[in-house]
Assembly symmetry: D2
Homo-oligomer: 90 residues x 4
Amino acid sequence: MIEHKNTLKRLKTIEGHIRGIQRMVEEDAYCIDVIRQINAVQAALHKVSAQILDAHLHSCVTTAIRGEDPAERERVLEEIVSIFEASTQV
Amino acid sequence: MIEHKNTLKRLKTIEGHIRGIQRMVEEDAYCIDVIRQINAVQAALHKVSAQILDAHLHSCVTTAIRGEDPAERERVLEEIVSIFEASTQV
Amino acid sequence: MIEHKNTLKRLKTIEGHIRGIQRMVEEDAYCIDVIRQINAVQAALHKVSAQILDAHLHSCVTTAIRGEDPAERERVLEEIVSIFEASTQV
Amino acid sequence: MIEHKNTLKRLKTIEGHIRGIQRMVEEDAYCIDVIRQINAVQAALHKVSAQILDAHLHSCVTTAIRGEDPAERERVLEEIVSIFEASTQV
């Protein structure tokens, strides 16, 4: 699937970014620069999550809501709320 | 609506919390304690957002997805993704 | 203190913003618009926290680190880390 | 340095976690489960940032604040605030 290919590509880029940060730590890079690179990885991961959520809403969630099983409808909606709740928490 | 009453009650509590933080600042409270109270308000606001999202998914989003207008379906799903994207961003 | 005045002013603006969101809920505004306003308040609160942290670093933290009490130095540094760990930005 | 070894170990664990998520995507795992694993990685990254910040405060920041260069003191404090402003926790 095209979605999968794009998601995998992003995850491989992120994996490379993490290895780059490991090298920075090994080479004793300035702490603040390392933290900034970690922030960049977190932002990239958040974009991957949003992309997966997008695909999920257009497939499973749409199917469940148009379907006839109220428990399944409830389940998919609750999952969206729980994912949202976990997305920023102090 | 019951949902509205609960949401309003939470927002009034948060308003009172903000006024409490103003008093802390006026009375020269310890900075870290003020920041912790601000964190608590942010967490409470995030819960209100999750509660509103929950109601929205069960009403507008369900109606749109079960409806016959593909553009409207697309619109409500895109909004969910955009809200999620804005929920944590580095 | 000038810092205090500025912080208080921002907190009063935020309090007004919260009241505006209450009116939106009472007037049955569109859910996504309410969530966006809540996001804006969270971002404003994060800026207030950053402003307070800035003042704290220039006063208490600087005094403690230049001081002769190692336990006090340790305490203020640990607080900064704990505030960072708990931190969230919208 | 012991700090470095611990940080590197965590980053290698995170790299393995990212590869695990790639496999989940390849094997068509449930979207919400993938998003939850991404959240776990973001939380782990936030802990690494906090650990690096801790080391930074005890080394560079302490040295700068105890030192005699006001511009350098200002620089390290501003960096802490900017890192805090950009910070996110999952």
